[in-house]
């Protein structure tokens, strides 16, 4: 039962959930829908009054800029809630595309209102998670604003690893990264060409190993000090939460 809901599993990792809360959250994942890799699920997918839970697969969200430029805003993993950022708006401001085959669970905005009224505790938790994601966003802002290409790549690898560790998709520090170098470049404000160069350089320097789209961080400590990396998903302060 709890197994069936990625979101329950993720939230449960931060806080113990009552049965009522579990039911409230699991309700969000009752519908599901599959998508092939490399398909746009928005703006064509659903109307702006829907969000969805990622049940399986990788996705990324992005914005398009003048002259064909693109900025990738975020990468989404199982257990993430997709479309939260557009909750305040009538129109989507963000486009989303699948990187791998995906399974998604759409639910209406109004389901959020049920959570707000019925469970202050879940509200505080969702609020908190949104803020953690905002903190990660701020880290990424630092990377784009004040780091060199090499450091940005290092930062990305560390962030993805921390995120996958949270989701439990990590075996012995090795992980798959099913994103093209163009997508990575659009995420870090670089070109695919330079992403390729930096990966090669990091490999030559013995910091990472690559094997067919899978990465191994050989010197994680050195990498962490290089970019002053902090794992934001560890050690939240949930002490002030309502019961």
């Amino acid at each position: 039962m709890a197994q069936s809901s990625c979101l329950v599993e993720k939230l449960g990792r931060f806080l113990s959930l009552s049965e009522a809360d579990t039911a409230l959250i699991a309700e969000l994942e009752k519908d599901e829908q599959s998508f092939k890799a490399h398909t746009k699920i928005r703006p064509l997918g659903w109307k702006a009054e829907h969000l969805c839970v990622v049940k399986e697969g990788w996705l990324y969200s992005y914005r398009l800029l003048p002259e064909g430029r693109r900025q990738v805003l975020d990468v989404h993993y199982p257990g993430d809630v997709l479309g939260m950022a557009d909750l305040p708006f009538r129109e989507y401001s963000i486009a989303v595309e699948t990187a791998t085959d995906c399974c998604l669970c759409p639910f209406p905005k109004s389901a959020m209102d049920r959570i707000f009224t019925q469970s202050p505790r879940m509200t505080a938790l969702l609020f908190t998670i949104a803020l953690v994601e905002q903190t990660v966003l701020l880290d990424r802002l630092c990377a784009l604003g004040r780091m060199e290409a090499r450091e940005r790549i290092v930062y990305l690898l560390l962030e993805v690893q921390a995120r996958l560790r949270l989701a439990g998709c990590l075996d012995r520090n090795r992980f798959e990264l099913p994103l093209t170098q163009t997508v990575i470049g659009d995420m870090l404000g670089l070109t695919n060409v330079y992403v390729s160069r930096m990966f090669s350089e990091l490999e030559d320097d013995g910091l990472i190993d690559r094997d067919n789209g899978a990465f191994l961080l050989k010197e994680p400590d050195q990498m962490k000090t290089m970019v002053d990396f902090k794992d934001r998903y560890a050690a939240l302060d949930t002490g002030w939460f309502p019961i």
Copy 2:
């Protein structure tokens, strides 16, 4: 009464507030404290269990990176809640400094819990405002990742203007920008030198006028199309809110 609370005033602009809600929010601003311009109010100010409402003045938040680099994360205006992003953590991850003389109203994290339990409607509103700010953050991410220096400056001017219009601090499109060019550079991922150059260039091209730290956007429409600017503070969707 309503006048005395910047936050009530700001929230009231999005939604009509009940008396109970007004009281709940106004409560946050009962203490106040003054700061001179150019002083760090954190980490030295208060412990991590406090947030505060900005009652008067400009501030900016930032992170420090290796080798003396700095990334300015946000600029704060009257009515903003400061420290929200650090709500999930025991330690501050963000430093804050005043740009002008300021008046701030500290309140404990636990006050948030009172709002969550007593007013689903205020909860939804605070949640929504946090998400709007996140959307603006995403716009800034686009600017840092995929815009040239000139466009970043244009974007910044438009964002500040939109923000000040919301706060009602705008007379005939003219506004003060009490930030040094070094701070602006640290916000946009540029050097103070290049910020200066870009300002001069925009002025030479007839897009803006400068007068003693005050700005006038002479060709706002041209500037908006240049960076595909969207005012996120207009037209929120509050229809799904609980009563």
